[in-house]
Amino acid sequence: MASPPLVQMRNVHRRFHLGETIVEAVAGVSLDIHTGGFLAVWGPSGSGKSTLMNLIGLIDAPSEGEVWFEGVDTHRMADNALTDFRSHRVGFVFQNFNLIPVLSARENVMLPLQIAGLSPQKASTQATEMLVEVGLERFLTSRPDQLSGGQRQRVAIARALAIQPKLVVADEPTANLDSENSHMVVNMMRQMNRLHGVTFVFTTHDPRLLDNVDRKVLLHDGRVEQDEILSCNS
């Protein structure tokens, strides 16, 4: 019997009130994301990619519909319970890296580990291992402003993977990078996906970055227009 999906979205809507206007960023999306997948959500600007990412990453709640994670209805969870649930299961990579500027690369990676309750010593060891894995062993004590864009995003990937999550949500991780670094970041995510079996969902509006994914979901006006599984990459 096939294992249940990691994330199940059932007829999910997300509406925002902008003054007297109601904008529907996600309009009735139903999506199953399976463990170990490497999934790209793509589409033009304003298609609802980021909103969908927020809902998948459990940092936003749907206006209508249900989001299930590992068989748990997350809609019913209180804020603290949902925060703890997320801290052990979901890693994030942001478009602007969102590293803490006053912390070193290692301290940034240690943050989610210490929030999850690890001792400083264990967190430091694991953070170092992760940074070595993304090729930043020479930059452990460097602050974000001492790193290039590509290096910062690798720190962000290491931070997302440090807690050994089930899912990494990456919203436009390459938007602020040149094409060389963009390919490097996507390849790195793919490598981590294969190495650790972590599910990756990322958004992009650059079709050139979709070569390596095993599933791509085209979003348009908040609706899934195309959901294509590329078995050759699986």
Partner: protein
């Protein structure tokens, strides 16, 4: 958690703002600590003056009603010779009692043969008086030898029964110098007039302009003779080993003397020194006023600084919440930052306080307080109790000032915080 690191580095992000806040807190702390140290020194000096200078001792024992009606009917409230001896023996049995001595206050007219004026005199045993005034801190700015010119009983001598001392103002009024002769006229207990010739042994400063042309000291034996009250006393003065034993000792003695069959009233030196209590109440009110102003400045500074910090770091708050930090964690982070800033400010304030304290002490400044007959030194103590209290209150209030903006930031939706520009 690396919250402490995060808080400390958070403070270093905007160094100029943090420094301005830190200085405001430090100067506020120093202002409070220096004023508290000054009042502490004043209280200590006044307590010393009341207990030793005014010869109040720590406790005063008299017949019940003496404090209320003793001046109207002195004969009714005098302790008999037997009572003086028995009560003295009972009190001396107690641990921590350093001295028990009978006292007799009387008033009358003093004359130099050409002019007369009224006086109020304390009859006190010369040996006991020296013990009572031993160690009294005396300071006279005009005296290079630092002579104890405020000790009124110094010239009293058990071997010179007719030698008395006069307050400086009283002596000047009658132009009496050391070694001059004078006459004292007073009523006896039974209301008869009585007079004795005395020698002026010394002059002293009473410390108060109101009493400087009135007060005199004389040997107890002379006072008893003038008052025709041999062996009697209007009260017993008790000196303890330390002032902190006063209240407990009073409670013990009240019970003990009651059991022994005596109906007595026992007053502490604070109850008898109205001036001490008035000065203390006034300074406490001024201290509260200054403390309140400084607290308002600190709260406004921290609240303003934290509000700006929270706005500047909204996206960071969103990131921390996304990766698993609870709302309470965000609040803790910013409250910790404010508390750390306040603590650092207080430590800096402590350093400023110590430097200014020693500078003031070294400057040898003196001034004449209102209603005082001579100058007193401007000295500042390090009042540890008030400094700890100030640190605690400032840190708590500073944390509270950060709590509101931090709570507001923690409650905003994560996606709004992440999208903040």
């Amino acid at each position: 958690m690396q919250f402490l690191t995060l808080s400390l580095r958070g403070l270093l992000r905007n160094r100029r703002r943090s420094l301005a806040n830190l200085l405001a807190i430090a100067l506020g702390f120093a202002a409070i600590a220096l004023f508290a140290g000054y009042t502490h020194n004043i209280y200590r000096g006044l307590a010393n003056q009341a207990i030793h200078g005014e010869l109040l001792g720590h406790l005063t024992i008299a017949k019940r009603g003496m404090s209320r009606e003793g001046k109207l009917y002195p004969e009714r409230y005098l302790l008999s010779r037997e009572e003086v001896l028995r009560i003295t023996a009972l009190v001396k049995e107690e641990r921590h009692v350093a001295l028990v001595t009978p006292r007799l206050t009387l008033s009358g007219i003093v004359s130099n043969g050409r002019a007369s004026t009224i006086f109020v005199a304390e009859g006190v045993d010369p040996t006991a008086a020296k013990a009572l005034q031993a160690g009294l801190l005396v300071w006279d700015n005009g005296d290079p030898k630092n002579e104890p010119t405020m000790i009124g009983t110094q010239a009293l001598d058990a071997t010179k029964p007719d030698t008395i001392t006069l307050a400086q103002g009283l002596a000047e009024l009658l132009r009496l110098k050391q070694g001059d002769r004078a006459s004292l006229l007073s009523n006896t207990v039974s209301g008869q007039a009585n007079a004795v010739d005395v020698v002026v042994g010394d002059r002293f400063k009473s410390g108060s302009a109101a009493t400087d042309d009135l007060y005199a000291f004389m040997p107890l034996a002379l006072a008893r003779s003038l008052y025709d009250a041999e062996g009697r006393a209007d009260r017993l003065t008790v000196l303890l080993e330390g002032a902190d034993q006063t209240d407990a000792m009073r409670a013990d003695l009240v019970e003990k003397l009651k059991k022994a069959g005596y109906d007595l009233e026992i007053h502490t030196w604070k109850e008898l020194s109205e001036f001490y209590m008035q000065v203390r109440a006034m300074f406490n009110m001024i201290f509260g006023f200054i403390f309140g102003i400084v607290l308002v400045v600190v709260v406004m500074g921290i609240a303003n600084s934290m509000s700006m910090t929270v706005v500047e770091r909204t996206r960071e708050i969103g990131t921390l919440r996304a990766i698993g930090l609870r709302r309470s964690g965000v609040v803790r982070l910013f409250v910790g930052e404010a508390a750390l800033l306040t603590m650092l400010g207080c430590v800096t304030g402590l350093l400023i306080t110590v430097v200014v304290k020693y500078a003031i002490d070294a400057a040898d400044i003196s001034y004449v307080p209102p209603n005082q007959s001579g100058p007193v030194p401007l000295l500042v103590d390090l009042d540890v109790r008030h400094m700890l209290l100030t640190t605690l209150v400032m840190a708590s209030v500073g944390a509270l000032a950060a709590w509101l903006p931090a709570r507001r930031a923690a409650r905003q939706p994560i996606i709004d915080a992440l999208g903040h520009v």
